[in-house]
Amino acid sequence: MTQTGVQSGRVRQRTHEGFLRHKGFRWAIVATGLCVAAIGVYFFAAQSLMEAPSGGSWLGYILGTVSAGLIVWLACLGVRKRAVSDGHYSLKAWVSAHVYLGLSLTVLATLHTGFQFGWNVHTLAYALMMLVIASGGFGIWAYTVMPHRLSANRGEITRRQMLDTLESLDGQLQEAAQPLDRAGAAIVRHSVQDTQIGGAFWQRLSGSYSNCANKQSLDQIRTLSRTGASGEVLVKIEELMQQKADALALARRQMRITGLLEVWLFVHIPATFALLAALIAHIVSVFAYW
């Protein structure tokens, strides 16, 4: 149909897939295969072994080595993500593999335990691993659901523009408040100086800002009498404060969604480090106190 050259060369796509569907679910298939194979071998081995398979059996060693190797490799995503090298790699492929191979650990590591749990460092390592996987599971959910909301909420407004709008409204409020008396000016000052856009961590996530200074000021301004010379000024100020309330709501929704996209990492990452520590303790103790 066209006479132009074929699109040769580098990354240039016609269609695309997200990290979950990457290359037609390649890593999902690999991970499932791994799990199925492990389960098959486990029950086959369970019959041939003298006692129930545990971490100490030949199967336990294999599963343990594979799982420990996977955990270390999965943790390397943090470095891969930040190291922008020139060669050919795809972070999407890494994330895809991270997700599915990480999920496969629930099977591999559980089989490695041989279902022997107790109040010891071994089970601690297992529990931490499950915590990491569970928080990762929340991450997958957030990454699937939140991007739509994030995009729909901000439209074409950038973070910078949201902050600029608020700053500009503050400037306008200050100018508009010039003719007010001391009490009126104090109300406006409260909105301009004491309004927090974000606030505490839980406030950001919950999105409830009942103590918002702008909201308080807006309520107070509405109670002031509109008679006399300042009436027009007060109408203008109320308008500006309402605009500011809308702008704040938009920015806070944005922070809430970005918060949800990040909050699981606050569990996922520290738990990963704890897991690595526990894993070392587990391996050392197993070999030292055999």
Binding site: V11, R12, V84, P147, T158
Partner: protein, 818 residues
């Protein structure tokens, strides 16, 4: 009787002052005439502290004034010292009104004071010193000024800034930057909008207006200026405002009328044309007047200063002076067979390549500085099919062969001596359509796109030749089928080149016209009315044809074809083309096959419309949205799927980390439609707007089609202003930061991504070195084997790079319907 100077130099810019200094050193009787009260007004008017660059670095400076890259103040001081040391006779505040007389007895009339008499005149007035003036009554009053050096100078004034371009807006914003100055500033704009200004400037202005910090009067003109007052015509009527100062920033124009009135002829009526000159910079129509510097077409300071020196040598009777660029040219021509001198080569190329015939020896020199001359052995590839390239080739000796059939390299068409090739890439900006090899030992000159365009605007014959050959070749290349130039003579005789505005239709559905169109540059979209509304059917890039159905079947037009962006099409009359089809059954079959394929696509979209109306609507509206975003002129664009983007900004971080710590893309900014977000990032236009006015010619197209800025950038900011998509920024690279490992293990440095401003400032202070702000833009990670870092570093697969013709295909319907 006043003194008759040997030489009068008009304009004291780099060219003029260098000429004057050399005249003074030689002891020639001379006078340097300057309009203002200081030397080098253009550079004087740069903002304070601006870093001035010295390119091209390979060129040796030959002047009695020194010049090296550095701050504006340092350079101006240096020149003032050099001019004083040489003992130059400067006449300040002398505005030249007219030049009369002839060689040996010129009279330079000044607006004030006695006329100056001179035997020779060097015109070095540049193009910037001629701001558009206020033409209303009172426009010449002293409180009207055309520049603003230091906005901090003025306090408690009522100031009107006239002009809604970047200069006007930046001046106005500078004046209100510090509220403590207490200025009342009003910006006056002739139109309703600010189309020539950058978006951030306009946004800033409108925000300041909304905050009540500045007054903005649109659709307004100045009617009268009086001391202390200004009268403005607005749509609502005329109003008189208090006004202590007027800053008029209404653009500048080269003083062509003045130069022509002196008898100096220009190459063409084209706005960008330059005077015609001999190799010694003398006007061909007015002996005794020498034109140098920007007015002669040399915008770079070093060129200007060298020319100042050279021209004085010529006037002083030195005929054997070797031009300063001689070593460069020698170097360029070294290794070519034939052992010719530079002058012989220049003449050889000029007389042997048809499109160069009309050039003067001086133009030839400059032309060759930009171009490359190469010798090829028989069989050597000159360029390969699908390679990126927008340069034009001229054959100085020998011949080449074009491999017209990609599947069989033995099918070739020859192109002979003095002709050109590569012109399709030059005009359409697309990849090379065929491989071209040397048929026998040949010498070709490769002319980069900018040099070729300059050539075409300077020499009308060259433009006609290129246009004629282009149309012929394009027809041959598009229709192939073993056609020869003789076959298509009749078709071409009626061919008509047409410029099409964006959105203008070349074919309208239902019409009875039957001409065939070739898209030479730009791109078209095909629409069909389905269910009462226009539906996007397909995208037709440059280098394709359209309109064959009506031509072959003599039926009314079945679709509407309209321009996605400003395009050029060639209209081929249907009658002669039908004759051609009759004579060439092979071509007939080929076109019918392609017609069938196109019809199937249309039928597919129509059938899907019945079944999956939503999917087709979506496909059509997404395509229209992207076309509106200028995708029609893109070759490679970054898109973000908002249904996958988690806003981690890893794309921006990866961009910064792979490019000296500065991100060339802004993920959040830009427009969004139906999950597709077009971030602010270069789309590598077919005909990049940024390339249009780059003084050092630093913007090039690379091997993968990327438009990149080379190290030759002088930081002038022209490209940033020219880019309609706002993807070029002026910035200096931050100092290198500690490695990723140091950051991860010890928390050293700012971490991945573009360092924040505070860190940069601190680190730069430690380094204590001055680095200029340069133009920064996406280079598509040129030279990185993994390809664009933004795409590689996206964890969710939201970031993709696409070319429009691949992305706007019907595959999208299948996907969303399926």
């Amino acid at each position: 009787m006043a003194e008759v100077y040997k030489v009068a130099i008009i304009g004291s810019g780099p060219a003029g002052l260098s000429a004057a200094a050399h005249a003074a050193r030689l002891g020639l009787s001379h006078i340097l005439i300057e309009k203002t009260d200081h030397l080098s007004d253009t550079i004087y008017r740069y903002q304070k502290g601006k870093h001035v660059m010295a390119t091209p670095s390979v060129l040796v400076l030959r002047s009695d004034c020194d010049f090296d890259a550095g701050k504006r103040e340092k350079i101006l001081d240096q020149w003032n010292q050099d001019v004083a040391a040489a003992g130059v006779n400067v006449k300040f505040n002398a505005d030249v009104k007219a030049i009369t007389g002839d060689k040996g007895a010129f009279v330079i009339e000044l607006k004030t004071g006695d006329p100056v008499q001179a035997e020779n005149i060097i015109l070095a007035v540049g193009t910037q010193g001629n701001p558009n003036l206020m033409r209303c009554e009172g426009g010449d009053l002293p409180h009207v000024q055309y520049q603003l050096d230091d906005p901090g100078e003025y306090t408690d004034e009522h100031i009107f800034v006239i002009g809604g371009g970047d200069a006007g807006i930046e001046n106005a914003m500078g004046l209100i930057a510090d509220a403590g100055q207490n200025n009342t500033v009003t910006l006056l704009n002739r139109g309703a909008d600010f189309p020539t200004a950058k978006k951030p400037n306009v946004d800033g202005l409108l925000a300041a207006r909304d905050a009540g910090r500045i007054g903005v009067l649109t659709e307004s003109n100045t009617a009268l200026v009086e001391p202390g007052w200004i009268t403005v015509e607005t749509p609502q009527g005329s109003t008189r405002y208090k006004c202590d100062r007027i800053i008029a920033r209404m653009g500048a124009a080269p003083p062509r009328a003045f130069v022509e009135a002196a008898g100096v002829a220009f190459a063409s009526p084209d706005r960008t044309a330059f005077p015609t000159l001999t190799p010694t910079f003398e006007s061909t129509t007015k002996p005794g007047i020498y034109v140098i510097g920007a007015l002669a077409g040399y915008p770079l300071i070093k060129h200007c200063m060298n020319q100042g020196y050279d021209v004085v040598e010529y006037i002083n009777g030195n005929t054997s002076l070797e031009a300063a660029d001689e070593p460069l040219l020698k170097d360029k021509l070294r290794g070519l067979p034939g052992n010719k001198s530079v002058a012989e080569w220049l003449e050889f190329l000029r007389s042997h390549v048809e499109i160069l015939n009309g050039l003067s020896p001086l133009q030839m020199r400059e032309f060759l500085l930009d171009s490359e001359v190469r010798a090829y052995k028989a069989g050597d590839p000159i360029f390969v099919r699908n390679e990126q390239g927008s340069s034009l080739f001229g054959i100085a000796s020998g011949s080449v062969k074009v491999e017209v059939d990609p599947s069989n390299p033995n099918v070739t068409v020859p192109i002979g001596e003095s002709s050109i090739f590569g012109e399709v890439g030059l005009i359409s900006g697309r990849r090379r359509g065929a491989t071209i090899r040397a048929a026998d030992a040949c010498i070709c000159v490769e002319i980069p796109r900018m040099a070729a365009l300059k050539l075409m605007s300077q020499v009308p014959e060259a433009r006609e030749t290129v246009n004629r050959i282009t149309t012929e070749r394009q027809v041959l290349q598009i229709f192939k089928s073993g056609l020869t130039p003789a076959d298509i003579k009749d078709v071409l005789a009626g061919a008509e080149v047409k410029d099409v505005k964006p959105g203008e239709a070349i074919i309208t559905e239902g019409d009875l016209s039957d001409d065939l169109f070739i898209i030479r540059s730009g791109s078209m979209i095909v629409e069909k009315t389905l269910g009462g509304k226009p539906m996007f059917m397909s995208y037709v890039p440059a280098g394709s044809y359209s309109g064959e159905m009506a031509m072959i079947e003599r039926s009314p037009r079945s679709t509407t074809v309209k321009a996605a962006i400003r395009s050029t099409v060639v209209k081929l009359p249907a009658g002669p083309f039908r004759e051609l089809l009759k004579r060439k059954p092979e071509l007939d079959k080929r076109m019918r096959d392609e017609m069938k394929a196109r019809r199937e696509i249309n039928a597919f979209v129509e059938s899907q419309q019945d079944k999956f109306a939503g999917a087709v609507d979506m496909y059509s509206s997404v395509a229209n949205f992207l076309i509106k975003q200028g995708i029609g002129e893109a070759t490679d664009v970054l898109l973000i799927d908002e249904s996958l983007c988690v806003g981690c900004d890893n794309c921006e971080k990866a961009c910064a980390d792979s490019h000296d710590g500065l991100s060339r893309l802004n993920r959040e900014a830009g427009t969004t439609f139906a999950n597709i977000h077009v971030p602010t990032s270069c789309r590598h236009c077919e005909h990049p707007h940024c390339m249009s006015d780059c003084p050092p010619n630093a913007i090039r197209r690379g091997p993968d089609g990327e438009v990149f800025i080379s190290d030759a950038c002088i930081g002038c900011g022209n490209c940033q202003r020219a880019c309609p998509y706002g993807v070029i920024q002026m910035d200096k690279p931050p100092p290198p930061k500690p490695s990723l490992l140091k950051w991860m293990l010890f928390g050293m440095g700012p971490g991945p991504g573009q360092p924040d401003y505070a860190w940069r400032k601190k680190a730069a202070a430690k380094q204590n070195s001055e680095s200029p702000k340069l133009a920064i833009k996406c280079d598509m990670c040129s030279g990185k084997s993994g390809g664009p870092a933004c795409v590689r570093a996206c964890p969710t697969g939201a970031a993709i790079r696409v070319s429009p013709d691949a992305f706007l295909s019907v595959a999208r319907i299948e996907r969303s319907a399926g």
